[in-house]
């Protein structure tokens, strides 16, 4: 997981990556060609402006006559007009390409994220994925679009200037341009240094944000441990690092600019000295001298630009590499071609071919181990009849969640098979099973939007009446009606404007609306107030009716009312039966039950008295 984040990417130019990216650039081929053309025009006119000045000096100033000044102004005005249009075009076209590519890559990335298996999400932190989808994608598209702009402009400009100078006076041109190789080398060297230094600054900056986060969230703990001074010391390490890396980055830029200025001035000095002598010798005109001086000043700009693009492309390549690893990851769980042919895929399901789910589930000699080789289940067998409620109890890491994940096909068995209504679920489509699934998590997850939107998530076509019906069934209606905008109340990001209990109820209503054949509940241990607790309990009973259910159970009332309780230990069923049967065993379940009984009663007494 962490290795994924820290992974260093190759620094060499990797054509393979850029070739793969062609797919995303292709739709913008025409625009890019147009943009290239515009940039050539921009650079061309930029090269021509000094020529105009040169013309003015030679024809008006030196000769002291204003013949043809009208035509001159007209030409100049035309150039200005064209350049204005060019600038407008270049920004809007490059912007269009930038945003377009960005949009396309994000779209492809998002689609892939909807297909990837849970194993991928288990080992990839959300933050990492967010960074790929936002900043990396942005940087890549930026570099492709604006890099093209600067590249074409820089190259044309350089060639144009060099060309004009060579034509005017090749000897003087060579002399003036003699600093060019040094300029190029220095530029490439420094631009890379600068870019790297800023990358370090960004890294340190995110560490500082992390430190602030920890310092503030942990402030209470810090106080109780009297660790203020030591914390500050550790924090100062970071701020020191931040200062030194920022200063270093700034110093690189501040050394680079003077060097470029210095080298450029040598070019200017050459032009002045040798050009001046030529003027005195009558070999070139005043205007030409001025032109060379002007060009020698202008020349370093494109060199600098090209060096910058060169460095940026390297960093964009790293972004591209990271994005591509994500987009090219294949899901571990997928439907076979035959299955897709018959039942459709996740985006184009052939619902009419789907058989109805009754809800019988069997595990046949199922073994499962995680990627790292950690064995969770071995030769696990279980038969669940349609409509049965199964409660799973056991300690953290015993394998309860794995059993549920296998039943939902969030994971597939490494060996053996899981049958739904007697058929191996790999012979049916993923979407078929998951469309018949209801799932309520211990920490309920809601989406930003209104309460109505969130309940509707269970069945998109549901009418307002049906939504209200579902909410009433789980006793959510009452609290919803007390809210400002009732069903149209915004729940906030992740539902954080509601209490945990309220979120639970909404997620139950959502599950009810979906009317699944198979229902999974990961029950919360978190204590909510007694009243809500009872309301939720009733809601659970409503949800469980007539469905095959798996409950990772903590609450006694849920456990007791289950048709069958499985005690799971190290991936095996150690005790099995209904509440009464297991109580008689006086084994693990008995202990668990008595402890939990005490706990629940104690807490409820304390709450009643509050």
């Amino acid at each position: 997981m962490n290795t994924l984040q820290e992974q260093e990417y190759s620094k060499k130019v990797d054509f393979g990556i850029w070739l793969k990216l062609l797919k995303y650039v292709k739709p913008y081929k025409r625009l890019m060609i147009l943009l290239g053309f515009v940039m050539i025009c921009v650079a061309g006119i930029d090269v021509a402006f000094p020529l105009m000045a040169n013309y003015a000096i030679d024809n008006f100033v030196v000769t002291k006559s204003l013949d043809g000044v009208g035509v001159f102004i007209a030409k100049y005005a035309a150039m200005i007009a064209i350049q204005t249009v060019n600038v407008f075009l270049l920004i809007s076209i490059a912007g269009k390409i930038d945003m377009g590519i960005c949009y396309d890559i994000r779209k492809a990335g998002f689609k892939r994220l909807q297909e990837l298996s849970f194993s991928y999400f288990d080992k990839t932190p959300v933050g990492w994925l967010m960074a790929r989808m936002t900043s990396d994608t942005g940087r890549l598209a930026d570099t492709i679009a604006w890099g093209l702009v600067d590249f074409v402009w820089g190259l044309t400009m350089m060639c144009g200037i060099a060309g004009v100078m060579l034509v005017r006076n090749w000897k003087l041109a060579l002399l003036t341009l003699s600093v060019m190789p040094a300029l190029a080398i220095v530029s490439v060297y420094f631009q890379q240094k600068i870019l790297k230094a800023y990358r370090r600054v960004r890294k340190t900056n995110s560490k500082i944000t992390g430190a602030f986060n920890e310092g503030i969230s942990g402030a209470k703990t810090t106080k109780t441990l009297v660790r203020e001074a030591k914390n500050l010391e550790e924090f100062q390490e970071l701020t020191k690092e931040m200062r030194s890396s920022s200063v270093q980055a700034a110093v690189f830029s501040s050394i680079y600019l003077p060097i470029v200025l210095g080298l450029g001035s040598i070019g200017t000095a050459m032009a002045l000295t040798f050009g001046g002598n030529s003027v005195m010798a009558g070999a070139i005109s005043y205007g030409t001298l001025m032109l060379f001086v002007q060009y020698s000043i202008q020349f370093f700009e494109p060199v600098r630009e090209l060096a910058r693009i060169f460095a940026e492309f390297q960093s964009a390549q790293a972004s591209a590499e990271r994005i591509l690893t994500m987009v090219e990851t294949d899901p571990e769980i997928y439907d076979s071609v035959d299955v897709i042919g018959k039942y459709g895929d996740a985006f184009n399901p052939l619902v009419k071919n789907w058989p109805e789910v009754k809800g019988n589930i069997s595990f046949k000699n199922v073994s499962f181990s995680y990627k790292d080789g950690e064995k969770v289940l071995e030769n696990f067998n279980l038969d669940v009849k349609a409509g049965e409620t199964i409660a799973l109890v056991g300690e953290t890491g015993s394998g309860k969640s794995t059993i549920v994940n296998l039943a939902c096909r969030f994971y597939e068995p490494t060996k053996g098979e899981v049958l739904i209504d007697g058929v191996d679920y790999r012979k049916r489509s993923l979407l078929w099973l998951q469309s018949n699934l209801g799932y309520v998590l211990q920490a309920p997850h809601l989406f930003s939007g209104t309460i109505k939107d969130n309940i509707k998530y269970g069945r998109l076509g549901a009418t307002d009446e049906e939504i209200m019906e579902a909410a009433k069934l789980v006793n959510a209606h009452e609290f919803i009606m007390k809210l400002d905008k009732v069903y149209d109340t915004e729940v906030g990001e992740g539902g954080n404007r509601l209490s945990t209990g309220e979120k639970q109820l909404i997620s139950f209503a959502r599950a009810i609306l979906a009317n699944p054949k198979i229902f999974v509940l990961d029950e919360a241990t978190s204590s909510i107030d007694t009243e809500t607790e009872q309301i939720i309990q009733t809601a659970i009973q409503k949800v469980l009716e007539n469905r095959t259910s798996f409950i990772i159970a903590h609450r006694l009332s849920t456990i007791r009312s289950a048709d069958r309780i499985l005690v799971i230990r190290d991936g095996k069923i150690t005790e099995q039966g209904n509440h009464y049967q297991l109580m008689r065993l006086k084994g693990y379940y008995y202990r668990l039950y008595t402890n939990q009984f005490m706990e629940e009663r104690e807490i409820s007494i304390l709450k009643e008295n509050a």
């Binding site: 297909e115 200017t268 001298l289 998590l441 209904n578 706990e599 008295n609």
Partner: protein, 608 residues
């Protein structure tokens, strides 16, 4: 104004450096504006034969270098002067870059440290009430706004002002009419820039907000991936994301379009200005009103001036943000911090504690703790029981002075705790919070946190007492396992036990467990308490708990209700009195009855 005073105080220690940086810009500007002048003299009066119309010092410099003839024969000297001037310009540009970076980064460093330290020393209550996200925002992006104001914006403004005044000075000395012509469009360009960036503020904001919305959809999809799959809503999510993705694209493109208008129009203005200077200059030069060199100076200055002036619009509109950021930071720094006095005591603490008629209220009008009195001998274990919200946790927070009681007195070994140094007190009163925070460090470092220099044995010993040693050893990397936000996720019970080990490492004579065994199962709870009791020097211990076993094994029990001490006594005394404790104790009987019923064979038959 108050805000900029604050900024000035932040700059302490770096003011000279910063002023040096600003002066360097001035000098760099002088150098960069001198080279067109040298070019002019070279072209007009050395290569050409015009009479030198330049400031005295420049004439002096020419004479010093040997006069016109020598220079004409040795044009390289003029070239060398150009290079020298560029070197001077470069040198001061470098100083400006380096000094402004050092100054602004040091100032940012100061602000960051000040904020961090301040936030650690504000009273406990501040952190109970404040919003973490908002504070972080202020400490990071607001500080960065100030940093970039100092490092970039203010410096750029300085540069533009220097340039403008230099250019105006030189131009005016050369030709007043030409100067007017050269400055014709400058105010227009400047106002255009300012007005534009004020007008498009909304477009920038729209784009930013839309990006935020897109990120939210993405984030919620990723964190809720199980819900998405369980309801088979992949297609729906794709469509939802597509709406946001497209919205962001369109809004940003709209912004780019606006910028395209801005840059093309301001380019148009600039080019028109340059063209005007060129044509007017050429006309005047042809009429011998100005020299060719002067024309060159004007065109060069013009090109140098226009860019910074266009930038100005952006910078000036951004400056408002700095004031806002300063205000937000000063709000944090204005919050009072816990004071330490020199005459505070640091006594050896033995562990006898007395509460005498202690009252406290978050709001003085509504006391949460009402006149509580009790006495504890060193080494005793006190269990505290009370309904949710009765004030038991608040009561315990008074002991290490996380809250300051308002009347009555709490004394430790006969000393009023208000006379004891707070940090000293907290070092001796270990409190384990109900929801402890673990830092992003290894388990080992987390446990050793409170005792600098704790060795491995100390850490292991307290981890064993807290019943977490074996769990930690079971991790792939053992004690080196990273926990906290970026590390492995520990269960609630594991977190609590690490926090207990962390507190135990200090060997405090007084320990408080603020319901900090709630997520640990009953058996482990018992084991931990046994281990605590068997330590060589028993600490005076307070345990807030609801568990009968925990409560019954204490030396005595305190029952709190609505901020008042309603019952106090040993287990045997309290089971004889009607009250909360008796009710809790009765659960055991209920359990037995319940179990009896459940095990009855006849029920078995009816069920199966």
């Amino acid at each position: 104004m108050k805000n900029f005073k604050l900024l000035w105080s932040f700059m302490r220690g770096n003011r000279l450096l910063y002023i040096g940086a600003i002066l360097s810009i001035g000098l760099a500007t002088v150098f960069s504006f001198t080279s067109p002048l040298v070019l002019r003299v070279t072209i007009d009066s050395i290569i050409g034969d015009k009479v030198m119309e330049v400031p005295e010092w420049l004439k002096g410099a020419v004479d010093y270098l040997g006069g016109r003839t020598v220079l004409m024969q040795n044009l390289w000297i003029c070239g060398a002067v150009i290079v020298l001037l560029a070197t001077g310009n470069g040198l001061f540009t470098y100083f400006k870059g380096k000094w402004s970076a050092v100054a602004s980064e040091s100032i940012a460093k100061n602000i960051r440290e000040k904020l961090y330290d301040h936030l650690q020393h504000v009273p406990y209550d501040y952190h109970v009430k404040s919003e973490t996200g908002d504070l972080i925002q202020r400490c990071t992006s607001d500080v960065d706004t100030i940093r970039s104001f100092l490092a970039v914006q203010f410096v750029e403004i300085g540069r533009a002002l220097f340039m403008l005044s230099m250019a105006l000075g030189v131009m005016l000395s050369l030709n007043v009419r030409m100067t007017l012509i050269a400055m014709l469009v400058v105010p227009i360009i400047f106002s255009f820039a300012v007005i534009f960036f004020i007008k498009v503020k909304k477009a920038f904001k729209d784009s930013d907000e839309s990006e935020g919305r897109m990120s939210t959809v993405l984030q919620e999809n990723l964190t809720g991936v199980r819900v998405v799959r369980a309801f088979a809503r992949q297609q729906y999510e794709i469509e939802k994301f597509d709406v946001r993705n497209a919205e962001y694209r369109d809004l940003t493109y709209k912004l780019i379009k606006l910028l395209a208008w801005y840059w093309s129009l301001s380019d148009l203005l600039c080019m028109m200005q340059i063209c005007t200077v060129l044509v007017a200059g050429a006309y005047m030069a042809s009429q011998n009103l100005i020299s060719l060199g002067t024309l060159v100076v004007f065109t060069t200055y013009e090109a140098m001036l226009l860019w910074p002036i266009r930038q100005m619009g952006r910078i000036l509109t951004d400056m408002g943000k700095t004031t806002v950021s300063l205000k937000r930071i000063s709000e944090i720094l204005d919050a009072g911090i816990e004071q330490e006095n020199e005459d505070e005591l640091k006594p050896e603490i033995n562990g006898s504690i007395e509460f005498q008629n202690v009252s406290f209220g978050y709001d003085v009008q509504k006391p949460n703790i009402k006149g509580i009195s009790f006495k504890v001998e060193p080494g005793q274990t006190v269990a505290i029981l009370g309904p949710t919200g009765s004030g038991k946790s608040t009561l315990m927070h008074l002991l290490p002075r996380l809250y300051e009681y308002q009347s009555g007195e709490i004394s430790i070994d006969g000393i009023d705790i208000k006379k004891i140094n707070k940090k000293w007190l907290r070092q001796n009163v270990g409190i384990v919070l109900q929801e402890p925070f673990l830092f992003s460090k290894s388990v080992k470092e987390n446990i050793a946190l409170a005792k600098p220099g704790a060795d491995t044995e100390d850490v292991y010993a307290s981890a064993r007492t807290a019943c977490i040693h074996d769990v930690i050893e079971g991790f792939e990397k053992g004690y080196e396992t990273l926990v906290g936000e970026r590390g492995v996720t520990l269960s609630g019970g594991q977190k609590q036990r690490v926090a207990i080990a962390r507190t135990l490492v200090k060997d405090c004579p007084i320990l408080i467990f603020d319901d900090s065994l709630s997520a640990v199962d009953t058996e482990t709870d018992t084991t931990i308490r046994r281990a605590l009791n068997s330590r060589p020097k028993k600490s005076t211990t307070f345990i807030i708990s609801h568990r009968v076993t925990t409560l019954s094994e204490a030396d005595f029990i305190i029952v709190i209700d609505k901020g008042e001490l309603v019952q106090q006594g040993t287990h045997d005394e309290l089971i004889g009195q009607p009250g909360l404790y008796q009710r809790i104790w009765a659960i055991q009987n209920e359990l037995e009855e319940e179990c009896e019923k459940d095990i009855q064979p006849e029920i078995m038959k009816t069920v199966s």
